[in-house]
């Protein structure tokens, strides 16, 4: 069924540059696939009524890349039809409304890539060592904590 698009590929990038949804989605397009599903996490401008001016991301980069690799390996086991996958995460200062994360996955049929994208972002939030600090207009800042973080006491 594969016509000239070779082996499944994974693309992982953790960088400070602005993320392009187009660029990340183009990475996973495949002539044998009818579906590309994409999730874009964008930075919100408010939290509990406080205005957020920007966000700042920190990461344990080599471990974050290793944990993302584990997620993608797990996806290949759960959804063997998945073709290409790309996970891009931005670090440093991210203005509100810009993307902090872009995940794109291609598959011959849409259910697999839709479900795999959902699994990928849910697991990323639980296991990948990346941290977000909200900086507020009024005063101060907060390091956020994902409710999905796997060792957090519920």
């Amino acid at each position: 069924m594969d016509e000239g698009d070779g082996e499944p590929q994974d693309f992982i990038r953790i960088c400070t540059e602005k993320l392009s949804t187009e660029e990340v989605s183009q990475l996973v397009v495949s002539p044998s696939c009818g579906a590309v599903s994409i999730f874009v996490g964008t930075t919100r401008n408010n939290f509990e009524g406080k205005k957020v001016v920007h966000l700042e991301y920190d990461a344990y980069v080599p471990m974050a890349e290793a944990e993302i690799k584990k997620i993608l390996a797990d996806i290949r086991k759960r959804w063997p039809s998945v073709k290409h996958m790309a996970v891009y995460h931005r670090l440093g200062l991210v203005p509100t409304t810009e993307a902090s994360v872009v995940i794109a996955i291609s598959s011959p049929h849409r259910d697999d890539s839709l479900d795999a994208v959902k699994f990928c972002i849910n697991t990323l939030k639980a296991t990948v060592p990346i941290w977000k600090k909200e900086v507020y207009e009024e005063e101060g800042s907060t390091w956020k904590e994902n409710k999905e973080c796997f060792w957090k006491k519920q």
């Binding site: 344990y60 939030k125 990346i130 941290w131 390091w143 994902n146 973080c149």
Partner: protein, 86 residues
Amino acid sequence: MSCEVLVLYFAKSSELAGVRSENLTLPQEVTSKELWEKIAALHPRLSTIKDQVVLAVRQEYVTIGDDVITLRTGDEVAVIPPISGG
């Protein structure tokens, strides 16, 4: 027997420790709980996150408990506060 490891601090743990990384001399055989206590003794402000933190040893998660970790000189240990990526 002791060895020298690189300890990394991120996000809130870095703010509390006041440092991003440092070399520490640590025992070769140590439980993760003892490892955390040695680090927290050096940076007392870290105790505010003691119930929320895990460690990473050679880039693998280690929850704080009684399991024994074997360290070697040159190993990377990280203090990992609750994550918030995505």
